[in-house]
């Protein structure tokens, strides 16, 4: 073992130590995500579980006039593959976000590293910030589509940057000639995949690729005109497969941009009532992202800063850097401001991009703004913060160095606290049905052969835990209330924790069973802690109905 370590050390010695540190951080990120994998825990998950059922049967879900999930093959297919490989387990469900999330610090650090002078500490600091970024860490333990979206976009930016750098070099050798063509093709492919994960890749990469081009032009100038062919290659690699996919959508939906149209229609049915008469107040809507970025968020007693205090720090450093603009060294100054405005541009897009302009302006995500949409701000904010906190020469003074240590320590401490609380919220809010799923296949198996009655959210959780794509497995009824007067004995589930954004009171209460009329026996109670997402313990009851004549005259209230 020692000899092996010595061998690794000898191999690493002549190499770039920063790169080794970045690889080590990536390995820690991957390991931590693997250990703490949660699985399905969000209200959106059933929307993805249904199309996965088709994929399991060897089909692709039908593409409807309205919808979203089925138009995201680069999100569904990798999840389907990992489920096939690892089975319907927490790791099988979230292997894709775990891997892609684990690489986010490395990819962002590489973006910085390519554009900063050698020896800069900014890439490592940036990787550390992103490794401990609360919302990114917890999101990569669940089905959060933004995680692979950011991964593919960052990969595209890095590959594009490598291609551009190769293009600008002079003279070009034959080997380098091939390498920049290869990078261009790979960049286009990554763009294409990102677009098939989520159409938000278009604005996201629009801003990030612009950022990268600005950095490259500032550093290397425009490439010779005859070398632009490589960039055209990248564009072709994106456009050709995307064109094929769009034509496929046209064949299936009747519209070339069937994916975009279907998503717009899905949101259109949720238009607020006051929209048409022009009385819609947008003030609260605009505040949602701001609150998520800057203020504690979550259920009562478990509120945490989703982005730690990195947003506050970035705002403060942004003001300071703006004041001291002229004193900053040139490469770092460009980097800092480009990343700051990249984050600002993304925020403005999320906040104000119009969903409709007629008859009134209506911003996108009008039906409530999920916290995960702002995940895309994390890489540029971390990059900006890292660049400013590692400005050469500034922190050589003892006082400023100590201040930087204190600031980073405070930020990381708050981030660690937030990660634990947030992880607990999602893990515990899905724990009840995870236990129930295990019990239903073991010691409660005989009861679970009976028809099951369960509230809708509980049913979704239960079926997800049991393996939704496998339609032959146990299926509880989705009904909230059934006419059970003439039914055989059934099992009824009451209480239990509810996922985020779901009211714990949505679960059936035991009192409701008295309305059924019949014999009720408590079978089992699943233990749990008192939490905002769990107002009652999950209980399983056996109900034997009292037979009545369905044609009885109604009783008078």
């Amino acid at each position: 073992m020692i000899a092996r370590i010595q061998q690794i050390r000898r191999w690493l010695a002549p190499r770039d130590s920063d790169l080794s540190i970045l690889v080590a951080i990536t390995l820690v990120c991957l390991l931590a995500r693997w250990i703490f994998a949660i699985g399905t825990a969000l209200p959106d998950d059933p929307g993805y579980a249904c199309p996965l059922g088709f994929i399991f049967r060897g089909e692709y879900p039908s593409l409807g006039a309205q919808g979203q999930a089925e138009f995201r093959p680069a999100w569904l297919l990798p999840i389907g593959a990992s489920l096939r490989w690892l089975g319907w387990t927490a790791h099988g469900m979230v292997l894709y976000p775990i891997i892609t999330g684990g690489f986010l610090p490395l990819l962002t650090a590489l973006w910085l590293r390519r554009n900063l002078p050698r020896g800069s500490q900014a890439p490592v600091v940036c990787a550390v910030i992103l490794a401990c970024y609360p919302v990114l860490f917890v999101d990569s333990l669940m089905w959060v589509i933004e995680v692979p979206l950011i991964f593919w976009c960052l990969l595209c930016v890095n590959l594009f940057g490598c291609a551009y750098a190769g293009l600008a070099e002079s003279p070009l050798t034959a080997r380098k000639h091939l390498s920049w063509i290869g990078f261009s093709i790979l960049a286009g492919a990554a763009f294409s995949v990102a677009y098939q994960v989520k159409i938000t890749a278009l604005p996201l990469l629009g801003i990030w690729l612009t950022t990268e081009v600005l950095l490259q032009v500032e550093r290397r100038g425009w490439p010779a005109r005859r070398r632009w062919i490589a960039l055209l290659l990248a564009a072709a690699v994106f456009l050709l497969p995307s064109l094929g996919v769009q034509l496929f959508y046209q064949a299936k939906t009747g519209h070339f941009f069937g994916n975009i149209q279907a998503e717009m229609r899905m949101y259109a049915v949720k238009l607020p009532e006051n929209y048409l008469n022009g009385n819609l107040r947008l003030h609260d809507l605009y505040l949602q992202y701001v609150e998520q970025l800057l203020l504690p968020f979550g259920p009562a007693g478990f509120r945490v800063l989703l982005h730690g205090i990195w947003m506050w720090i970035a705002l403060g450093l942004g003001v300071a850097a703006g004041v001291l603009w002229r004193r900053l060294p040139a490469p770092e100054r460009t980097m800092a401001f480009v990343f700051f405005f990249s984050a600002l541009g993304l925020f403005l897009f999320l906040e104000f991009w119009p969903f409709r302009l007629r008859p009134h302006y209506l911003p996108i995500s009008f039906d409530g703004r999920p916290w995960r949409y702002t995940d895309v701000l994390a890489p540029p904010i971390a990059a900006f913060t890292a660049v400013v906190l590692t400005l050469p020469g500034v922190f050589d003074r003892w006082l400023l160095g100590a201040l930087r240590c204190g600031l980073l320590g405070t930020c990381l401490g708050i981030a660690g606290y937030g990660m634990v609380i947030r992880y607990h919220q999602f893990e515990d809010s899905t724990a009840d049905y995870r236990q129930a799923a295990v019990a239903s296949t073991t010691w409660l198996k005989s009861y679970c052969r009976l028809p099951q009655v369960i509230d809708e959210d509980g049913c979704e959780q239960f079926t997800e835990m049991l393996g939704w794509p496998d339609k032959t497995s146990f299926q509880p009824s989705r009904s909230r209330f059934l006419d059970l007067r003439n039914s055989p004995p059934v099992c009824i589930w009451t209480g239990g924790a509810r996922r985020e954004a779901m009211s714990a009171d949505a679960a059936w209460s035991p009192d409701r069973m008295k309305l059924l009329g019949g014999d009720v026996v408590l079978i089992h109670t699943f233990a749990g802690l008192r939490r905002p997402w769990r107002s009652r313990l999950l209980q399983l009851w056996l109900f034997r109905p009292t037979k009545v004549d369905s044609h009885d005259p109604p009783s008078q209230p």
Binding site: I21, Y417, K514, G528, L537, T546, S555
Partner: protein
């Protein structure tokens, strides 16, 4: 990796600061969770059984309809472009719902297949009733969203999102007496759609027209 990392003095400050601060934060988080960890009491009491407390009427049982059933349900096509204009009243024949049956019923089997896939159907109407503990049932196929809302703002929302369900789907909810706005979105155009609402037999639907029923 780690032995190599230890040789790099530039990052010692970062390593120690980050590790120590992050671990302190994690420890404080774990402590906060444990402090809040009171177990929920286990309610062992079995609910009181009330025999025949409520009677349900199955819509397919063929019971004769009560005479006091009234309601109103209008249906119109709905698409993004038309939203900017007053909703188009669409004549759905046979009648949108049949007041001679004990349930509000919107049969849209044929109509829905004639609607371009680009559109969905939106129905708005109202139900008024005075019987307590009324249970409204919805029965449908394909995706829909229904929302009841009374004058006091109490809301009951039932959503069925899947569009690949072929079996009948029924769900119900208890609602308090009063007048309820009903809003139904069928968003899975295509396929054989039908929609029914029914309630307990003593349900009293309000027959009086109301200006609020006019399409907005």
């Amino acid at each position: 990796m780690i032995p190599h990392l230890s040789l790099e003095p530039r990052y010692r400050w970062l390593l120690w600061t980050c590790c120590a601060a992050f671990l302190i934060g994690v420890a404080m988080g774990v402590r906060a969770i444990r402090t809040e960890s009171a177990p929920l009491p286990i309610p062992n009491a079995i609910p009181r059984l009330v025999q025949d407390d409520i009677k349900l009427d199955h819509p397919l049982s063929g019971d004769p309809p009560p005479a006091n059933l009234r309601g109103n349900l209008r249906v119109w096509l709905y698409s993004g472009r038309e939203l900017a204009e007053p909703p188009l009243a669409v004549a759905v024949q046979p009648p949108v719902f049949d007041v001679s049956t004990p349930w509000l019923k919107a049969l849209v089997d044929e109509k829905i297949s004639h609607i371009p896939r680009a559109r969905s159907i939106k129905m708005r109407g109202w139900i008024s009733f005075s019987s307590p503990r009324t249970m409204l049932h919805l029965r449908s196929e394909n995706g829909y969203r229904v929302r009841f809302r009374n004058a006091l703002g109490a809301e009951c929302s039932l959503v069925h999102w899947e569009d690949d369900v072929t079996e009948d789907f029924a769900c119900g909810a208890f609602v308090e007496p009063g007048r309820y706005e009903i809003e139904i979105d069928y968003f899975c155009a295509g396929g054989n759609g039908f929609f029914e609402i029914w309630g307990t037999p003593e349900i009293q639907f309000d027959p009086a027209p109301d200006p609020r029923d006019a399409p907005r």
